[in-house]
Amino acid sequence: MSDHRDRTRGEGDAELHAYLDDELGDGANADFEARMRQDPRLARTVGVLGSFDRWLEETRETAPGSLRDRVQSQLSSSSVDMNRTRPHDAATSRSTTRRWTDLVRLPVWAWAGAGAMAAAILFLVFQPQLPRHEGAAGVDADVLTTDAITTDAIVPGVAAPSGFAEATLADHADGASGATPPDVALSLGDTIRHRFTIEAQDASRVCLVGSFNRWTVCKTPLEEVRTGVWAATLELPRGRYEYMFVVDDHWVTDPNSGVRVDDGFGNENAVLLL
C-alpha cells in the first residue's frame, strides 16, 4: 500500500494541501478522508498540522496595553517643530528653573545667563576632544566647526540608545533656539553633534543605519546637500557606534571611515567613536 509520502513531490501531497485549505469539493473531501482512514501516517500528518494551528493560537501573545500610547507619543513628538520647545520640555524646564531659583532666590533671567555661560564653558572644555573622535571615524573634518554646530539641520527621530543618558534631539534643539534652560545646557558635554557624509552619484535615496537607530531602515535619511553628496547630522551621546549607509537598498560601508569591523557576513560596519 502506498502512503501519502509516496505522493510527496515538490510542494508535497497536493490533495493534503487542498484538504487543509478547504479547497476540495464534497466528493474529493470524502475521498481524502477515506484515504486518511486507510493511511494512519496521513491521518497523523493532518493531526499534527491541526496541532500546529492550535499551538499557534494558544501561544499567541497580544500587544501590551501601552502600545497605543507609545505610538501616539512617538507621532506627537516627531511632528513637533524642532525650533520650538515641546510642551513637555517646556514644563520640565520651567519646573527645573523654579527649583533652582527657589534655592538661591535669584530671578530666572540670571540663571538663564548663568546657564548660557556654563554651556559656553563646557563647550570650550570639550571642544579640543572632538576632532580626535571625529578623526577616528574618518568623517568630514569640517563637521565640528562652529558654523557646522550652529547651522546644521538635525535629523529628527533619533533618540539616545538605551544605556546612555536620555538626550533627545528635541531637547538640544531648544538650545539652538537660544532659549537654553540650565539643565539642557549642561547636557552639551554629554552629546556630540556628528555629520555623516557619503558621495553617491545618481542615488535616489540614501539612509543612515546603525546601532544608534536600532539598525532601522530608513529611519535616518540623508539629504543631498550638493550634487551626489549626501549628509545628515545627528546629535549622539558619547559612545561607540557601528553604522552603514543604505544607498538605494544597497548596504555600503562608509568609504571615509578609518575604523571598521568585520560583520561576519562579508561586509564591514564602520565604527564611530564619540
Binding site: 510542494e11 507609545r70 505610538v71 516627531s78 531602515v217
Partner: protein, 177 residues
C-alpha cells in the same frame, strides 16, 4: 485631529495581529513592542502612499515583514539574541534527528509544542512568514499574495513548501508521519 483619532482606531484594530506576527520573530517582548510601534509610525507617515489597492491589514503586514527583515538584516552581524534565528543562522536550534529520537512515539501535545517551537526557528524567513500569515493570521491566498507582492499561485506554492518543511522537521524529531 480627526486623522489622529482614526489612526488611533486603526492601531487598536490591528495592534494584536501585527504584534503577534512580530513576536514570533523576536524572543524579546520589549523589542517586539518597539518594532510593532515602528510599524505603526511608518504606516502613519506612509498613509498617503497607501493606494487602497490592498486591504489595510495586508498593507500593515507588509510593513511589519519589512520592518523585521530590515532589523534582522542590520543585526545579523551583531548576533542579537533577541531575534529568533533563522535556518542557517548562528543560534538556530538544529532539529533532533530521527535516529536520535524514539521512532513512532505517541504524539504528545507537550512534546509537539516543543517540536513546533524548534521547527519554527529552523525555517527560512520566507517559510516562517508564509506559515504565520496563513496558519496564525488566517490570510486567504489572495491576501497573502497581496501582502508579499507575489501571485496567488506563488503564494500557494510557498505555503505548501513551508508546510512540507515543517512536517520534515517534525519527522526529524522522531515523529512517524
Amino acid at each position: 485631529m480627526g486623522d489622529a483619532r482614526a489612526f488611533d482606531h486603526l492601531v487598536e484594530l490591528y495592534q494584536d495581529r501585527i504584534f503577534a506576527l512580530v513576536r514570533r520573530q523576536v524572543s524579546d517582548f520589549e523589542l517586539a513592542e518597539e518594532l510593532t510601534q515602528d510599524v505603526f509610525v511608518k504606516a502613519f507617515r506612509g498613509l498617503d502612499r497607501f493606494r487602497g489597492e490592498s486591504r489595510l491589514g495586508t498593507w500593515l503586514f507588509r510593513i511589519a515583514i519589512n520592518q523585521v527583515r530590515d532589523y534582522r538584516r542590520g543585526k545579523r552581524a551583531h548576533a542579537d539574541a533577541r531575534l529568533i534565528p533563522l535556518e542557517g543562522e548562528p543560534g538556530c536550534a538544529p532539529p533532533t534527528t530521527a535516529t536520535s529520537a524514539a521512532p513512532d512515539r505517541e504524539l504528545s501535545e507537550k512534546e509537539l509544542a516543543d517540536t513546533f517551537s524548534r521547527a519554527l526557528s529552523s525555517l527560512t524567513a520566507d517559510q516562517r512568514t508564509v506559515l504565520l500569515l496563513r496558519h496564525q493570521e488566517g490570510l486567504e491566498y489572495d491576501e497573502l499574495a497581496s501582502t508579499l507582492g507575489i501571485s496567488r499561485t506563488n503564494a500557494k506554492v510557498r505555503v505548501h513548501r513551508a508546510r512540507e518543511r515543517l512536517l520534515a522537521l517534525v519527522r526529524a524529531d522522531g515523529y512517524d508521519l
